[in-house]
């Protein structure tokens, strides 16, 4: 018997403001990971403009795919599976990747897999941690999502908790705007916070009622805005660094609180973080400390795999492929696709 052939996946991601393509072998071996970022385009608008994002995707997508193949030293002939993000995200943005992926799949008779964007973020952890296998706990924190999930098996998730209002990353963006840092808020707050005192301002740590693991960040954001207003009224100097550090600490405390509760109650010994905010060093260090306390192994992707990218989509697509779940030519973009849902 010959050795089982490796599975080469071309992955495409266009759910928000990054146009990305990657080639991933057997789910964990990244041969290329090309990202065309649109941050500069959206900065003047203070946030992502969906129509502009979609226009940029269509301009960049072929170039990004060709570069991903070139860097992996492959052609379409070498590709076994195409994976594409089909939700959640901005519908117009998603549609570019979905239509493109379907067309390539059809033209070259390559099986197509639709990937959930958040599953992609979770699977980003497999790339640099070859030993990581389900089950494990995963905290996904990004501009659009805040989920605490129990990954029971590949492609099988139990959502323990989620945000009831703003995503954590969204709160970062809004606070960054309020203290004059601008978009994108996450990295800017993190940078400024390094010079600030996290205990300077006691912003509330909102706990959602009940014994679940849900989050709430909109109250925290409002508390920051109220604090800024009252400072202005009383003509108290606003120390940007302290506001950033105190707000960031409040968000981290809430995230860590639920994560720790989940570690205690599920007795799981593996914990991963994922999503754009997972590249925040303060969050990573705090989470690592919690894991150490509980004797749990801690996993996190490198910053390049935390941001929206296609390598993570390739990782997720591999396990969908192994499960035999393929998409048809009628695959559509699903802007509010639920985690674990299969359409």
């Amino acid at each position: 018997m010959s050795k089982q052939k490796e599975v080469r996946i071309l992955a495409i991601e266009s759910s928000c403001d990054e146009t990305a393509a990657a080639v991933v072998v057997d789910g964990r071996d990244v041969r290329s990971n090309i990202i065309s970022s649109q941050i500069a385009l959206h900065t003047i608008y203070g946030g992502v403009v969906p129509e502009l994002a979609s226009r940029k995707h269509i301009e960049k997508i072929n170039q990004v795919i060709e570069e991903a193949l070139r860097e992996a030293q492959m052609t379409f002939d070498d590709i076994d599976v195409i994976g594409v993000t089909y939700g959640p995200g901005l519908v117009g943005a998603l549609l570019v990747g979905v239509a493109e992926a379907k067309a390539i799949s059809y033209a070259r008779k390559i099986p197509l897999v639709g990937v959930h964007h958040i599953e992609g973020h979770i699977c980003a952890n497999y790339i640099e941690n070859k030993e990581l296998e389900p089950p494990f706990l995963c905290l996904i924190v990004s501009g659009g999502h805040t989920h605490l999930v129990q990954v029971q098996d590949y492609g099988v998730y139990e959502i323990l908790g989620r945000t009831m209002d703003d995503a954590a990353g969204e709160a970062f963006d809004k606070v960054a705007r309020a203290i004059g840092l601008g978009y994108p808020g996450g990295p800017k707050i993190e940078r400024v916070a390094r010079q600030g005192n996290p205990d300077a301002i006691p912003f509330p740590r909102a706990h959602v009622a009940g014994d679940g693991y849900n989050f709430s960040f909109s109250g925290m954001k409002s508390a920051v805005l109220n604090y800024l207003n009252s400072c202005r009224m009383k003509e108290i100097e606003i120390v940007q660094e302290d506001v950033a550090a105190s707000f960031q600490q409040a968000v981290i405390d809430v995230l860590i609180g639920n994560a720790e509760k989940a570690l205690e109650q599920t007795n799981m010994k593996k914990f991963a973080i994922a999503g754009g905010v997972a590249s925040n060093a303060a969050l990573r260090h705090a989470m690592e400390a919690v894991c150490t306390r509980h004797g749990a192994a801690f996993y996190h992707p490198s910053p390049i795999l935390c941001t929206d990218n296609a390598a993570m989509i390739g990782a997720a697509a591999y396990y969908e492929h192994l499960a035999g779940r393929y998409a048809g030519l009628d695959l559509n973009a699903v802007p509010n696709l639920k985690l674990g849902e299969r359409l």
Binding site: S54, R55, I58, N62, A101, K102, A103, Y106, N332
Partner: protein, 234 residues
């Protein structure tokens, strides 16, 4: 030469394959369903019917705009994907030109009207000499009054078509001073067959681009850009 054409610029989704002087097949649906779900299955169905070998195509044509922003991108991304994967050139035909070509051979001024919202129409003016199409006014986004004034100025009979005819009929009745007609249902909307036939001419004239180069021509800025410019001017 063999050419595949795709139009998803409006409510209609349409795919067609033309080979030299023959339309081998066309699949046109004018029904509210997401193009994203219908377009490739339509192509697949058509391809099976006519035993199309995709590698035998010389080029792939697309309605290159204007139209619904999302609709245009579904067509463009589909064509960019097909053309890249098959290594074929892309012929980007202005949407309004392609609509006008439905009436090739017509003796009147041909005026497609697409509903561009915000009281505007994507339109143009065309005249046929046999099957050769002369562009009198290139496609543009203007108020309906402007294009009707152009027609009145030329003073020749006109024929209207496109999804905008329903919306703008009252304005036509009120403002059009020349005799006019409306095209019948089978040729009054986007048809990939007409797009393909015109695209062959464009291709022969050397108007092809690479899959990478192709991008829709929206004829309009996004709302965010427009508002930002208005703010800057104010």
């Amino acid at each position: 030469m063999k050419l595949l054409a795709i139009d998803s610029s409006g409510l209609v989704a349409s795919v067609a394959v033309v080979c030299d002087e023959d339309l081998l097949g066309e699949f046109t649906v004018n029904y509210k369903k997401t193009h994203s779900q219908t377009l490739l299955p339509m192509l697949d169905e058509l391809a099976k019917m006519i035993e199309l070998d995709l590698s035998s195509l010389d080029a792939i044509a697309v309605a290159g705009g204007p139209g619904s922003f999302t609709g245009l991108r579904i067509g463009s991304a589909t064509v960019k994907g097909l053309a890249m994967a098959l290594d074929k050139p892309v012929v980007q035909v202005p949407t309004v030109d392609a609509i006008a070509y439905n009436l090739a051979g017509h003796r009147d001024l041909v005026c497609p009207l697409m509903d561009a919202r915000r009281n505007q129409t994507y339109t143009g003016l065309y005249r046929f000499c046999g099957n050769r199409m002369e562009v009198i006014k290139a496609q543009c986004a203007v108020d309906i009054g402007e294009i009707l004034a152009d027609i009145n100025h030329i003073g020749e009979p006109a024929v209207f078509l496109g999804d905008g005819t329903a919306v703008f009929r009252p304005a036509i009745v009120e403002q059009c001073c020349v005799s006019y007609t409306f095209a019948p249902p089978h040729v009054n909307k986007q048809r990939a067959g007409a797009l393909a036939a015109l695209a062959i001419q464009y291709f022969i004239e050397g108007k092809a681009v690479t899959a990478e180069e192709h991008r829709p021509d929206y004829l309009r800025l996004s709302q965010a850009e427009r508002e930002r410019m208005e703010k800057e001017h104010a």
